[in-house]
């Protein structure tokens, strides 16, 4: 519970990770591909990664607010399906760069653009092969004290302030 909300479980082998495991800073985002605030945070995280380089490890976990955002759940599953073919981050970026186009047909289009095995992608999407993975992320978010999207954790502690670049950098400097 705030303000001591702690990331549970810690970053592990199942997570989608960018950056070195030994980086002094681990930034975890719980996000929703249809959430406009997550859309605002997307370029901020990119800028932060550019600025901090090897000093930061970035992790993305799914937190689709499916009742509020009707496309969020499928979009999350699409990123996981792309991840199963080694292209999680490419799909993650495409989804955030095209938040207005997240219909199932759009998702297939992105799979094509990323040169995925499209029949496999479609089959897994139709079977909801990654729904349990997405739910597991969601549940871990709830137990970690995620209270909306995006929610950031810096070295395991929930960041409660604003998430513009300056605020995130300042919060990171405090812990690192």
């Amino acid at each position: 519970m705030s303000p001591s909300a702690k990331l549970k479980p810690p970053v592990g082998a199942n997570d989608h990770v960018q950056g070195p495991a030994k980086a002094p800073v681990t930034l975890v985002e719980y996000g929703d591909y249809e959430c406009p605030y997550c859309g605002e945070a997307y370029p901020v995280v990119k800028a932060l990664q550019k600025r901090l380089g090897d000093q930061v490890r970035f992790v993305f976990r799914n937190f689709p607010l499916a009742e509020a955002h009707p496309h969020a759940e499928h979009a999350a599953e699409a990123a996981e399906a792309a991840g199963a073919q080694g292209k999680f981050w490419e799909m993650h970026d495409l989804l955030y760069e095209n938040q207005d186009a997240l219909e199932d047909g759009d998702l297939v289009r992105y799979a094509q653009a990323l040169h995925l095995d499209v029949p496999r992608f479609v089959k897994e999407m139709e079977a909801h092969a990654y729904v349990e993975r997405v739910r597991a992320d969601f549940r871990s978010g709830v137990r970690s004290g995620v209270n909306g999207t995006p929610s950031f954790f810096i070295n395991g502690a929930r960041h409660d302030g604003p998430f513009d670049l300056g605020s995130l950098l300042a919060a990171i400097e405090e812990v690192a």
């Binding site: 519970m1 909300a5 406009p36 607010l65 009742e67 509020a68 137990r143 970690s144």
Partner: protein, 162 residues
Amino acid sequence: MATEDANKILAPGVAAPDFSLHSTPDQLVSLSDFRGAPLIVAFYPADWSPVCGDQMALYNEVLPEFHKFKAQIVGISVDGSWCHDAFAQNRKLHFPLLADFEPKGAVARKYGAYRDREGVCERALFVIDPKGTISWSYLSPVGVNPGADGILDALEALAAKK
């Protein structure tokens, strides 16, 4: 200014004060309706906060986790039942919002969860056990959505006691 003490919320071990409030313009919901199962009571300041950070929208998504503990949830604010109705429809909420509207804030006051200065409820959470006793309570800073982790911890503790 209201003192901290005047705003203290009811603590665990206390019998939850009964209430009977409108969930829709023609439907009343009472605490006693929930006897026999845990009930989460979430006081909150107002309907219509931005959706991605909204406390009620979050609980709506977490309902399956609450239901694993057979727990029900109600939200309570001083908004009227027509307002709640529009808000609940807009956000597709699947649990009742109760209107602590007339006399304004009377139930919130009984729980120590009313902000006199602003005339709204605190962000205060209560888990009430199947017999009607408060088993957990938490007062959040009014600007911070407290999330659901504390509620789930409390429901877990309640289930373990059985």
